[in-house]
């Protein structure tokens, strides 16, 4: 299982990288953490003619901001950067909770936040986080930088709004300040495996009533889904099990779930309800 031959470029600035991918076009691929691209190359499922390695590009990694103002994440930031919450507050805690479910420790040392989004695995935790919380993605090309909402970025399995000449450089997560409770529940065959279903939620509850809600699910369709209708339903409802069950049922009815060898449609739809109920219950606890 050795990859097909390719040429290798290692730019050190963003401008240089952009110039390279623009020149190479379709035949090129950006190499970030390599934790998705390289397995695919080893199986010869991916065979780029040129790899543009952005690991040496200055200024692409790092985390800034805080839970109350929102967090800005450089695309090349490794998953492991979230092993301990980078800041205090619900948003940072949520990221630290979620990251433990992404693959395993050594893979998290290399894999990047931006790589996960660009790769767009339907069961990617970071895709779920950005889709659910309504992140803004900053995408650079030779012609400048554009901003794309997460909702518009994910187009399907391994498919995004990225053009071959573009690099995802930064991701802004909106604030989740005091008063928010968060919940995340994932079910996979073994810990570290891709989710068969997972749900992420943030609730702002006052006096037992849900005032604001974010809810998204991953691993169940061709991309991470933010469930806007269910969010709307949740607002104004009492934060208890019946509400959560009703929300889960709503989601189960509205999603055309995917199938694979570990979960057929019937089972996955069933799981979907469970992960939503559990995530909501955690956020309300």
């Amino acid at each position: 299982m050795k990859p097909a031959a390719f040429a290798y470029l290692a730019p050190t600035t963003l401008a240089e990288a952009l110039e390279m991918i623009d020149r190479i076009g379709d035949d090129g691929k950006i190499l970030a953490g390599g934790q998705s691209l390289v397995p695919a190359m080893n199986f010869r499922l991916a065979r780029p003619g040129t790899l543009v390695d952005i690991n040496g590009v200055a200024g692409l990694s790092g985390i800034s901001g805080d839970s109350a103002r929102g967090i800005s994440i450089g695309a090349l930031t490794r998953h492991a950067a979230f092993h301990t919450p980078p800041f205090s507050g619900p948003l940072a805690d949520l990221l630290a909770k979620v990251v433990r479910n992404i693959a395993h420790y050594p893979i998290r040392q290399r894999g990047t936040f931006g790589g996960s989004l660009s790769h767009a695995d339907p069961a990617s935790e970071w895709c779920l986080v950005t889709a659910t919380l309504g992140a803004t993605l900053h995408i650079a090309s030779l012609t400048g930088t554009r901003e794309v909402a997460a909702a518009d970025f994910f187009r399907g399995t391994f498919t995004t709004a990225l053009q071959p000449s573009e690099i995802l450089v930064r991701i802004d997560l909106p604030p989740l300040g005091a008063g928010w409770g968060t919940g995340f529940y994932e079910f996979s065959r073994r810990k570290g495996d891709f989710a068969l279903a997972m749900a992420l939620t943030a609730l702002r509850i006052e006096g037992g009533t849900i005032r604001e809600a974010r809810l998204g699910v991953g691993g169940v369709a061709d991309r991470a889904l933010r469930l806007a209708k269910t969010e709307a339903f949740l607002v104004g409802q009492p934060a208890h099990a019946e509400t959560f069950a009703a929300a889960a049922a709503m989601a189960q009815d509205s999603i055309d779930v995917s199938e694979d060898i570990h979960a057929g449609a019937d089972y996955r739809r069933d799981l979907l309800g469970t992960v939503i109920r559990r995530a909501l219950a955690e956020a309300a606890a």
Partner: protein
Amino acid sequence: MSDKIKITLTVNGTAMTAEVEPRRSLADMLRDDLRLTGTHLGCEHGVCGACTVLVDGKPVRSCLMFGVQANGASVRTVEGLADGDRLHPLQQAFWENHGLQCGFCTPGFLMLAAGALEENPDMTDEEIRDVLSSNLCRCTGYQNIVKAVRLAAEVMKAGPAPQATRS
């Protein structure tokens, strides 16, 4: 074939150069070009962890990095763990607690544990098990690996820092 690229790196504390095709994985470069065959390949898709080495102190899958990406990096492999004939506390603990059978997964587990303990010498039992779940072993049923790492962590905390061996 694409042209070979010349790189320099530090392996187990020694500066080395290699001239490799870009498609050569770090694992293959270590094994075939630098003749360090202690690093093993069990899957070449990131799951088994037999290929785990430390790159700039962090345990990573050497099957998912290209050799050319290690240009300028410091790489540590199982061959650099012992101090001459004196085994590293992890190696000693694996030996005394029967943490290996066929030994094929062992270098990967050793480097995984070495990197994780260097980052956090105070891992709880639960954290140790969680980290060790990164790699696969088909022989031992894991319990002696978990035990060995737990005991080695104690020894490493008590004794001279592992860096005192050779890095």
